[in-house]
Subunit: 368 residues, 5 copies
Amino acid sequence: MSKSRKRYSRKIKHTPPGTSPGTIVSPPGACPTFIDLIAYGPEGVYEKRIDDWSEVHQAMQKYPVVWVNIEGLGNSELVTQAGDIFGIHRLALEDVMNIQERSKLEQYGENSFFVVHMAEMKESLETEKLSIYTSKKFVVTFQDGPIDVMNPVRERIRKGNGLIRKMGTDYLTYAVVDAVIDSYFPVLEAYGDLLDKLEEGIIEKPERQMVAQIHSLKKEFFSLKRMAWSLRDAISAFLRDASPLYSPETRIYFRDCYDHTITVLDFVETYREFLSDLMDIYLSSLSNRTNEVMKVMAIFTSLFVPPTLIAGIYGMNFHTQLSPYNMPELTWYFGYPYALGLMLAVSLSILGLLYWKGWLGSLKIRSK
Amino acid sequence: MSKSRKRYSRKIKHTPPGTSPGTIVSPPGACPTFIDLIAYGPEGVYEKRIDDWSEVHQAMQKYPVVWVNIEGLGNSELVTQAGDIFGIHRLALEDVMNIQERSKLEQYGENSFFVVHMAEMKESLETEKLSIYTSKKFVVTFQDGPIDVMNPVRERIRKGNGLIRKMGTDYLTYAVVDAVIDSYFPVLEAYGDLLDKLEEGIIEKPERQMVAQIHSLKKEFFSLKRMAWSLRDAISAFLRDASPLYSPETRIYFRDCYDHTITVLDFVETYREFLSDLMDIYLSSLSNRTNEVMKVMAIFTSLFVPPTLIAGIYGMNFHTQLSPYNMPELTWYFGYPYALGLMLAVSLSILGLLYWKGWLGSLKIRSK
Amino acid sequence: MSKSRKRYSRKIKHTPPGTSPGTIVSPPGACPTFIDLIAYGPEGVYEKRIDDWSEVHQAMQKYPVVWVNIEGLGNSELVTQAGDIFGIHRLALEDVMNIQERSKLEQYGENSFFVVHMAEMKESLETEKLSIYTSKKFVVTFQDGPIDVMNPVRERIRKGNGLIRKMGTDYLTYAVVDAVIDSYFPVLEAYGDLLDKLEEGIIEKPERQMVAQIHSLKKEFFSLKRMAWSLRDAISAFLRDASPLYSPETRIYFRDCYDHTITVLDFVETYREFLSDLMDIYLSSLSNRTNEVMKVMAIFTSLFVPPTLIAGIYGMNFHTQLSPYNMPELTWYFGYPYALGLMLAVSLSILGLLYWKGWLGSLKIRSK
Amino acid sequence: MSKSRKRYSRKIKHTPPGTSPGTIVSPPGACPTFIDLIAYGPEGVYEKRIDDWSEVHQAMQKYPVVWVNIEGLGNSELVTQAGDIFGIHRLALEDVMNIQERSKLEQYGENSFFVVHMAEMKESLETEKLSIYTSKKFVVTFQDGPIDVMNPVRERIRKGNGLIRKMGTDYLTYAVVDAVIDSYFPVLEAYGDLLDKLEEGIIEKPERQMVAQIHSLKKEFFSLKRMAWSLRDAISAFLRDASPLYSPETRIYFRDCYDHTITVLDFVETYREFLSDLMDIYLSSLSNRTNEVMKVMAIFTSLFVPPTLIAGIYGMNFHTQLSPYNMPELTWYFGYPYALGLMLAVSLSILGLLYWKGWLGSLKIRSK
Amino acid sequence: MSKSRKRYSRKIKHTPPGTSPGTIVSPPGACPTFIDLIAYGPEGVYEKRIDDWSEVHQAMQKYPVVWVNIEGLGNSELVTQAGDIFGIHRLALEDVMNIQERSKLEQYGENSFFVVHMAEMKESLETEKLSIYTSKKFVVTFQDGPIDVMNPVRERIRKGNGLIRKMGTDYLTYAVVDAVIDSYFPVLEAYGDLLDKLEEGIIEKPERQMVAQIHSLKKEFFSLKRMAWSLRDAISAFLRDASPLYSPETRIYFRDCYDHTITVLDFVETYREFLSDLMDIYLSSLSNRTNEVMKVMAIFTSLFVPPTLIAGIYGMNFHTQLSPYNMPELTWYFGYPYALGLMLAVSLSILGLLYWKGWLGSLKIRSK
C-alpha cells in the first residue's frame, strides 16, 4: 500500500509557481552528471567519457555524427553549459529538468527536441524520461536514472552493424526512439503474465485483496496509456510536419516506430478493458457467493426449525390425564419413535421440495 | 482455461529490444517455405510450385500478371531472397515476419503493401496474417499457417471466370483482399449462433461458468474488432490517397470492400454490446434469485417461529394448581387441540398477510 | 423467445466467400418479380405493369421522367436485364440482391445509387431494403417484400399534387427517400407507447420477464440506430459532394430530409438511453425489495425470538422446592400472566426501538 | 406519473407519411393567430396589432427595420399569406408549423431562418419553439404558446435603450436569439435548486420515489441538452459561414451568444453527470441499509439463540434422581441464578466479540 | 453539507434575461476598486496605485509597457472609464463583470482578450476569474477577490530578472497566463494527498460518509476540468490563429503554457477516473461485508439451531414409564452427558463441514 499511497501527489513536481520561465534547476534527488561522447562516421568510431567541452568541438570536425549523452541531471551548471554549447532553447532545457509523464516533439527552428519515456518492469513499472535534442551535426540525449535502453544502439555503432554508421543524426534519433519503444514490449509481456495469473485467481478463488490489485494495475495502465498516447501524438506530428533535418529514408523508419506505438497502445487498451471485466467477474462472483451462503442458511433453517416446533409441541405440559384430547401421543407405546419419525418426515419433505425446486442442484460451494 | 490463460502475453512476440531495424528472422514455430507461382493474362495461365527464382523472370516476360505466393515463413533466407528479387523494403519484410494483429496499408513508392488477417472458426477463432505486396507487374503474398482463403481466387484465374484474367495486378490485389474479408462472414455467423445459445441459456438457466464464457468471448471480439477496425482504416486510407497503380475501375471494387468491412465492424460492435447486456441480465437474474431465496427463508421463518413460541409457552412449568391464573389452558378438556389450533391460526394469518402483501404471488423459484 | 433467438446469425446472409464480385443471385426466399412503369411529365402520366422492356424505351422518349419499380427479387434474370438496360454497375446490382442493414449513397459517374430501408411496426419491427438508382432520365427502384411506402408518392404523381410533376428525376428520388424517412415516425410513435407502458410497469410492478423485454428492445433499437445513422451519413455525403444531377432547388429538399433523419436519430438515442435507465430502475427496485424482505424477516425474528427465550426459561426444570432461588416465579400467583406480560413487554420494546429507528416507517411492501 | 407517461410518443407529431413536402397545416391545438407589427429606426417607433398586410408595406417604406411577430399558429391561411408576402420558402414554413425539439439555422439565399426554443420553468420544464426569418428589411417571428421572452427586447426598442434602434435587422435577430438563450438561465437555476434538494434528501433519507424523480429529471435534461446542443451547432454554423446580411459588428455579438450557449450546455452536462452520481449514491445507500438490516438481524440472532439453547437444555426431562450425572444443576441451590447467569454470560461474550470485531461500532441505523 | 448545497444554483449568476447586451453592472458582493499601475522598460520601472487616468497616458509615453491592474470590481463606473480609456469592447467589459467558469480568448481587432481562472486550495477549492486585455502598448488585468498569483511576475519586473523587462506586452501577457496555470499545481498536489488518504481509508475502513466525500470531490473536479479544458481550447486557438501582436519568440513560450495546461488536464482526468474506481472499491467492499455478515449469521444459525432441536427433543414429555421406546435416554445413567455430547458432536460436525467447504477460511471480519 505504502508504495501506491504517494502515487498521485508524487508525480507533481513542478518549479514553484511564478518562477521565471527557462530557469534551470536540477530535479530533487537527481544523480551526479556524466558526459559520454560517441562520434562516428562510416570510417570509424570515437568514444569517451569527457569533462571538457573542447573535445566535442574537435569531434564535430572529425566525424559526421556526434552523440553526447548526459547521464544524471544533478549538476545543473553542466546541463546549462551543454545548452549554451549546443544552442538548446531555454524552455527545452527546462523540460529536460522537469519531471513529467507526457512525451512530446518540439521543433526549435531546424532542430528537433523529443521527450520520450523508457520503461522497465522491476518490482513494479519503472519509467524514466529521455530527452533527445537533434541537429544536423549532433544529437544530445539527457537522462536521469538507472534505466538504459540505448546500449544496443551503442553496440550497433561500435560494430558497424546495419545502416547506422552510414546514416546521419536523423537515423541515430530514430534508432534511439525505436529502442525506447522496444523497451515497452517486455513490460507488456510481464503485465500479460500478471493479468493471466490474476484472471485465473479471480475465476478460481476470488479474494478481497484482488480489488486493490486491480485498482493498482489500473493506475499503472493509466500512466502507460498516457505515455504511449503522447508518444503516438508526437510521432504522428513528426510524420505530418516534415522538418528538412530528416531524410525521406529515415521517415519511412519513423513510420515503423509509429506502427509499434500503435501496437503498444492497443495492448494497453486491451489490458485496461480486461481489468474492467475482471472487476465485473469479481463482483458477479461475490453475488454468487452471497447467494450460496443464503441458500445454505435457508436449508439449515428449513431443516431444523420445523422439527424444533414438533419437539416444542410435545414438550407442552397439557395434563394428559384430564382429557383424552390432551396430547394422547405422550402415552402411546411408540410415542417417542412416532415423534422422531414425524420430525424426520417433515425435514425430508422439505429437503425433497427444495431439491425438486432445483436449489440443491445448483448449490456448489467452493471447496478449498 | 489453459487456452485463454496465455492469451495476452502470447500475442506479444517481438524481436528483442534494440535489434537493428529490418532484421529478417523467422517467427518462432514457422512452417517450411514453399513458393507457388501463378502467371496469367487474358490468353492463358501458368501455375507451378517453384524452387528457382529464374522462372519468375521468365513468367514476368510472358504474362502481364505474376502472382507469387510464399507459404510458410520458416526459411528466412528464401524470404530475404524474395525481398531482394521483388525489391521489397526491409521494413515491409520485417512486418511480414512479425506476429501482429493490426492490418495496414503502406505505400513504398508506387508499390503498395497490405497486411490483412484471414479468419476461420475452428474450435475457437483462428486468425492468420496475410501480407500482400503489389507492383505494376507482380503480386507477392506471404502467409504462414493452415488457413487459406485464396483458393476461390485461384479457381477464378484458372477457369477465367469473371473479370480477373482481363485485369491487372490491382484487381488481383482486390480479389485477394475481398476473399479475406469474405472469410469473416462465416466466423460472424458462427458467433451469432453461439450468442443465441448463450442468451437462451442465461435467460432460462443462468450458470456461473457463463460469466467466464462471456469474458472469453469479449476477448475474442476485442481481437476481431481491432482487426476489422485497422482493416477499415487501411482501406479507407487507400480510397483517400490515390496511388496510380490502381485504376478507377478497381477503386470502385475497393469501395465495395470498404462496405463489407463496415458490415463486419457493425456485427462485431453489435455482438460486443450484446455481450454486455448478457452480463447485465446474468447479474439481474442473480439478484432475482437471491431475492427469492430470501423470500423462501422469510416464509419458513414466519411460519414456524411463531408456533414454536406458542409451544414454548405451554411448555412452561408454572404450577397450575397454585393459582387459577397459572396456565389454566393446560387443564382444559380441549387444551391441546386449542393449542394446535392457535398455532395453525397464527401461521395461516401470517401466510395470509404475506399473500395479501403480494409476496407469494411473485415467488417463482425455477424448477429444474 | 424463438423469434429473437435467430436474430443475430439470421442477418448475415452473404454470398459464399470467394464468389466472383458482381455475381447476381436472388436472396433466399425472394418474391416473384413484377415491373411497374410510371412515366410522367407536367402534361400527363402513363402507368403500367410491364413485361417488355421496349415499353421503357418508348416511355423515355415521350415523358421527361420514367420511374421503374421492380418489386420482388426472385427472378435474377429480370434484375440482370434491368441492370443491362439501365446501365447499372454490377456492384450496385449485387448490393440490390444482398441483405444488409446499412444505408448508403454511391455515385456511379453522374448517376446516383441510394440504398435505404423502409420500416413498419407490425407485431415487431419489420424493415425492408429499397434501392434507388437515379439518372437524368429515369429512376429505378428495387424492393422485395410486403412493405410499401411509395403509394403516397404515386398518388401525388397521378393527381399532379405539389411540385412533383413539374420536377425531374432528382425530385422523384427525393420524394421516395422522404417517404422512406417518414415511415420511421409511426414506428417511433409505436415504440414510444411501448416504452411508456414498460416504464409504468417497471415502476409499479417490476417483473422478471421485463429484463428480457428491455434486452429485446435494445436489439431492435440497435438495428434502428444503425439504419438511421447510415442514412444520415449517406444524405450528409450527398449534401457535401454535389452531383450535377441534382438541382439546387432539390438540394434544399434533401436538406429537409437530413433534418428528419437527425430527428429519427435523436429519438432512437433517447429511447436507448431510456432503456438503460429502465434497467437501472429495475435493478434498484430489486435491491429495494430484497431490502424489504430482509426487514420483514428481521422484524419477525426480533419479535418472536426473544419471547421464545423467555418461554424456554420458564420451561426449565429447576426444582423450585429445593431452593427459594430456583424459579420462584413458577409458584407466584400471577406467575403466568407475569410471564406473558414480560414477553409482550419485550416484543413491544423491540418493536418500539425499530419504529424509533425509522424501520417500520420506510417499510412499504407493495400490495398486489 | 400520468404527466411523464406520454412524454415519448407525445413528441412525435409529424405530418402523415407521404404528405407532399411544404404542406402548411396548423399543429394540433394551436392558438388563434395575431399579428403584431413593430417598425422602428433611429428616429421613431411604430407599433400595432394588424389585420391587414398593406400596413406592413407602408411600414417598410417608412422605417429601416420592420418586425412582424406572428403569435399563434391556428390560422394556417394567415401563416401561408405571411410566407407569400415575405417570400419565405415553403420548407421553412413547414418547419414553423412542425413540433420539433431541434434548433437550427438555415440559409435561404441571403435570408436566414433560425429555429430556437424558449424555456420556462413552471411546474415542470415548458419549452416553446420560436422561428425567426430575417431579411435585409424585416424580421418575421413565429411562436405558438404562452411563453414570451421578447418583451424586454420590445421595451428596449420602445425606449431606445442601448444600440438596438441604431442597428439593422441583423442586430434585432441577435437581440431575440440572445433573449431566448437568456431564458435558459432561470430554468437552470431552478434545476440547480431542485438538484440540491434532491441530493440532500438522498444522502439524508433515501426513498424509493427518488429513483422515479431522478429518471424524470434525466428525461428533461435530455431534452434540454438536445435543444442547447442544436442551438450551439446552429450558432457555430452561423459564425463559420458568413452571410452578408450580418455586419461584422453583429457577429461579435453572436460570438457572445455562442459563449452563453456553451455555458448552458456546461450546466446541463454537469447536471446530467450529477444525476448519474445521485443514482449511484442511492444504490450505495440501499446496499448500506441492507447491510445494516443484516447486522441487526445477526445481532438479535446471536444474542437470543444461544440462551434459548441453554434454556432448552435445562428444560430437558432427564431423571435427575436416577443418576448424579443427570442435570445435577437442576437441584443446585443456586441452579436457576446460575442458568440465568450462564445465559447472560454467553450473550455478553458474543456481544463483546461482535464489538471487538468492529460490528457494533459501524452500526448506525438512521433515526427518523 | 451546507457548503455544497448551493453549489449548483450559486454558479448561475447572470444578468436578468433580456438585459441590453454590454450593460456594465458590478457582480453582487464585489470588492471596492483599486487601480495599480506598473510601467516599465529595459531602463526602469514605475509603480503606483493611481486615482487619476492621466498618469496612465504619461506612463504610456515614457515606458514601452504599461500594465494596469484593476483589483475589485465594485465600482462599475471606474471599470467603464477604464473600458473607454483603453478602448475595450463593451462585450469584453461585460465578460469582466460576469461570473463564469469558462476560460476564453477573444480577438478584438489586433488586441486580445483572455479570460482565465486562478486557483487556490484553502479549505476547499477557491477559484477567481482574471481578465487580461492586451494591446501593443498596454495590458489591463481585472480581478475581484483575494487570490493573487501575479506577485512573482511583479517581483520579476521590479528586479529585472529573466527576460521580462526586455520584452513587450505580449511577453507580459504570457507571464501572467503562465503564473495562472502554475497556480493549479499546488492545488493538484493538495488533491493528490487528499485522494491518497481517501483511498487508504476506503480500502482499510470503508465508511458511509466517504460516498458523499467522493461525490463532492467529483463536483470539484468537474469544475476544474471545465476550467482547464476551456483554457486549453483558448491557448490552442491562440497558437493556431496568429495575431501579429505576439512575436514568434513569445509564441514558443505560449507553446510551453499549452503543455502545462495539458499536464493539468491529465491530472484532473486521472483524478476523476481514480474517484470512479474508489466508488467501485467502496461498493465491492460493501458487498464483501454483507457477504461476511451473512456468513457469521449462517455460522451462528448452523451452530445453535441443531442443538436446540436436540434439547427440545429431550424436553418432550413422553411418558417413559409407559413404554421402553419412550425416550429411554432420559433414564440412562449418563443420559445428560450423552445429550450434551450429542449436541457438541452435531455442532462440531457442522463446523467441520463449513470449514472443509472453505467458509471459515475466507471469513475475515475486519477488527477495529
